[in-house]
Amino acid sequence: EDNVSIGNEHLTVHFDENGFMNMISIHGETHALKQNFLYYDGALGNNEEFRNRSSGAYIFRPNGTEKTVTDVVEIQVVKSDLVQEVHQIFNEWISQVIRVYAGQEHVELEWLVGPIPIDDVIGKEIISRFESDIKSDGAFYTDSNGREMLRRVRNYRETWELDLVEPVSGNYYPITAKIAIEDDQSRLAVLNDRAQGGSSLVDGQLELMVHRRLLRDDAFGVGEALNETQYGTGLVARGKHWLFFGSSQKDASPTLQAKERFLQNKVLLPSWPFVTPVDNLLTYDDYL
């Protein structure tokens, strides 16, 4: 059958024949929008001098550029009136659910990563990368503790002449709540549910580091590799990203930024469900 898509009255997310998200249709326009998981090998330095530190708890230092995880994703599509979901399996240790709830103007991506394999004795740092047709011209915006958005420019610092030794991690910034790119037409923002490293290494791209497992201490003090385990195997992490795509026009009401801020409040301070079993305690009429 033709390729899969999920959505609601506001937006539709399309998937290509390999199971990857590849386009989004919103307000009558369709834009390229891809998402994929990739990983960096962690650098194994001898920690002797500063320029030869390993990637570890204190620093992110990839050994080379990103590597792909898979070319084909197995998917299962689940559709209902309240929510439509695509359950993706990238490989044995990376999966994700992409869902669109009824009436909502954002896409929710619930990722699940781990245990990160290390039988090749190489630490790995897993990222979720978004690619769009936005001409971001080297600029991207990262939040500052969930508040002001700071404008970042790739390979550049405002207050000194940058000699960039680390082309990837030198462009990574702390993303506590949101990272965004825009041009004079469109804006892409990704909200995260915990502090992550993030960047925009190519125009139109955003990436967030979701999980890492490293095998050598980076000699900044803790004296231990960042190699968290549970039940005798690597830690499994699960979290969410919320994605907004839309017009970057500032005269729209409400602007996309305003919608992002409302959603940020909702997802970081969600309604708290308390439950109590009432099997033989309370009938529905008693409850009323």
């Binding site: 899969v4 708890a57 204190y58 998917i75 299962q76 599509v77 689940v78 559709k79 209902s80 009136d81 309240l82 929510v83 979901e85 359950h87 399996i89 999966s95 659910v97 709830y101 009824a102 699940l112 900044f220 003090g221 803790v222 004296g223 231990e224 960042l226 968290e228 385990t229 549970q230 039940y231 195997t233 499994v236 699960r238 409040n265 909702k266 301070l269 969600p270 309604s271 708290w272 469900p273 308390f274 439950v275 109590t276 079993p277 009432v278 099997d279 305690l281 309370l282 529905y284 409850y287 009323l288």
Partner: protein
């Protein structure tokens, strides 16, 4: 007050940069998790008594309110093993909210009703196999019951009665395609 102070003490320790950035040794990180858990557990007594007051506490009827600590792996002993549960949504924001609720349950037919006698639209979504296959996940939940909390007032709450009822079909069962 002693419970709240216990959690305040823990949050005081969590101000350390190691606790925030994860640059502590593994056994220290595990100890931070233990301290936080104990602080939360201590304060669950406070939330339970507050919720019982809100729900109109009666001597005969005290609800053992809890929250699903393993919702992040789609597991919850209370919602998986009860045919009738009360769900109370507390909205901490300063404006109303209509979040979607996901309750880990076994397969079956569920009915969600609000406090005005109306049925709330709900659906059953299968939990992905990559979650149900997690080796350390000891849960019998195979699905999540999804419904949307109606406009919960700012700093307010709304309750729902969820019942498992073989005779009734949940309003919309999801259509599946591989």
């Amino acid at each position: 007050e002693a419970h709240l102070t216990a959690l305040r003490d823990v949050m005081g320790v969590m101000q350390h940069h190691d606790a925030i950035t994860g640059t502590e040794k593994q056994h220290v990180a595990d100890d931070y998790a233990r301290m936080l858990y104990e602080g939360f557990e201590a304060c669950s007594v406070n939330t339970r008594s507050a919720l019982n007051q809100l729900a109109g506490e009666r001597d005969t009827l005290k609800f053992d309110w809890g929250y699903c600590k393993q919702a992040n792996i789609s597991a919850c002993v209370m919602t998986e093993n009860s045919d009738n549960i009360l769900v109370l949504l507390y909205n901490p924001l300063g404006h109303s909210s209509n979040d979607f609720v996901r309750l880990p349950v076994k397969e079956g037919h569920y009915l969600v009703r609000n406090d005005r006698g109306q049925t709330v639209a709900s659906t059953l979504i299968p939990i992905p196999s990559s979650v149900t296959d997690l080796p350390f996940r000891e849960s019998e939940a195979t699905h999540e019951l999804v419904f949307q909390g109606e406009q919960v007032a700012p700093v307010g709450y709304k309750s729902y009665y969820v019942s498992k009822d073989e005779s009734k079909k949940s309003l919309s069962t999801a259509e599946m395609r591989q």
